[in-house]
């Protein structure tokens, strides 16, 4: 089963996404802030990372940049999860090294497509 690391600080979003992805056959690990996200990426070496962009401690852009500059983790595909509200989030996510992005509210079929493209 492919392993996905979900980095998301909002409890409800985390709950919803992890449950639905587990039902689709993914093994899910959770990180609740950017710092934890970077650490777990290195520790677990997941097959894909879903990174919320607005995180406490370390934001999603910084966390992604660190993951992408670490030799051990740089090949792990990262999908940015951006809130619709912020203009420029998308461009910033791609500039930080994200392989793709998706906007909230999450539409599961759309997200699954993107995940499957990168795995």
């Amino acid at each position: 089963m492919p392993k996905i690391l979900l980095v998301e600080d909002n409890e409800m979003n985390r709950d919803m996404l992890s449950r639905r992805l587990k039902r689709k056959g993914f093994d899910i690990s959770i990180a609740v802030d950017g710092g934890q996200g970077v650490d777990m990426a290195e520790a677990e070496l997941p097959d894909l990372i879903l990174m919320d962009m607005s995180l406490p401690v370390k934001d999603g852009w910084t966390a992604t940049r660190e993951i992408k500059s670490n030799e051990k983790t740089r090949n792990i595909p990262v999908i940015a999860l951006t809130a619709h509200a912020m203009a420029g989030d998308r461009e910033q996510a791609l500039a930080a090294g994200c392989d793709d992005y998706d906007t909230k509210p999450i539409e599961l079929p759309r997200l699954l497509d993107k995940i499957n493209n990168l795995l």
Binding site: N10, D15, R23, A85, A87, P105
Partner: protein, 376 residues
Amino acid sequence: MSTSSLRSSPTLDVETLGNELRKPIQKVLNRVNRLSLQVKQGSFDDKEQMLTDLGKIENATKQLSRLVEDVFRQRVTPDGQIDTNSFSATVRHDLRTPVNAIIGYSEMLLEDAEASSSSAQADLADEFEELMTIGHHLLSLINELISFVKGREAPKPSKADLVDASPHLLEDAFQTITHDPSLPEIPATPAEVNEGTLLVVDDKDSNRELLSRQLGRYGFTVETAENGLQALKMMAEKEYDTILLDVLMPELNGFQVLAAVQADPKLKHIPVIMISALDEIDSVVRCIEMGAQDYLQKPFNPTILKAKINATLERKRLRDREQAYLKRLKQEQEKSEKLLLNILPRPIAERLKGGIQSHSSCTLQWRSCSALTAAW
């Protein structure tokens, strides 16, 4: 269910906006209460999970309600309008989060109900789908509210927005139609026909809103799509006179939409004007090479906007006339062919066509032309 539009309210005031939002919020709360009771009293496999999820929907809805009251009670200026400065990106984000939760948990309840072996649970699927629909309705109301407030904003970024530290927010704030008072207004001459149905495709609510208002003022009929897929669907159902297409969009971007339009023989004659921000010249060139008619840069100069659209429409009108003419010509030719075959047996007709073809068809053409001229 009816999706009432905030924009269609005759008096768009704070009172009306508030009520429009309160109604679906109350609806969700009522239904969740009823469903929770039903689940508690019934026997379901996933009872615990269902009650937990319903509880989460209730909490999210209550949170949304509190936020809405906050916006409408405390962020209102003395003259009764929503204070745009305090309606920051954070507020917008906070309004959307609980709505996303309402939608997400309803969807999960629905999925569980549909997959369930218990018929009692499956019966509830419709109820959960209703919840999800109301959730989507709430989301579109919130988005309308946001673009309404943004539309009233003077085009300068608020401090709160800058604090959110997105470097592109300035660009976003200025991607409105700027009015340059130094340029003379081109008067509407009798020859200028601001007529036609336009389709504006842009993922940003504020851009769609502003463009459609501006173009509407010039007399165009404007419809909007918020993504490429919706645009293509709308184009399949109606013929637009021009498409205004944003390059940078999520999912299906401007290039992909343009490629789809060019690939469809029914659509490729419809002119497309690409809309681009300043630093995307490469993509603009690529679009024109792919068949776009023209491009417009943001921020829009209203004079150039109007001129380019009118030029595009005029070109399309000429092309449409030409197509109509050619079609009529073809019909006349077919009529003449039939007539010839009525008079002469086919092999002789063919020989005649082979030998004296130029003479007889010239005569026929000439008659067709005058018939057409008379018609025009």
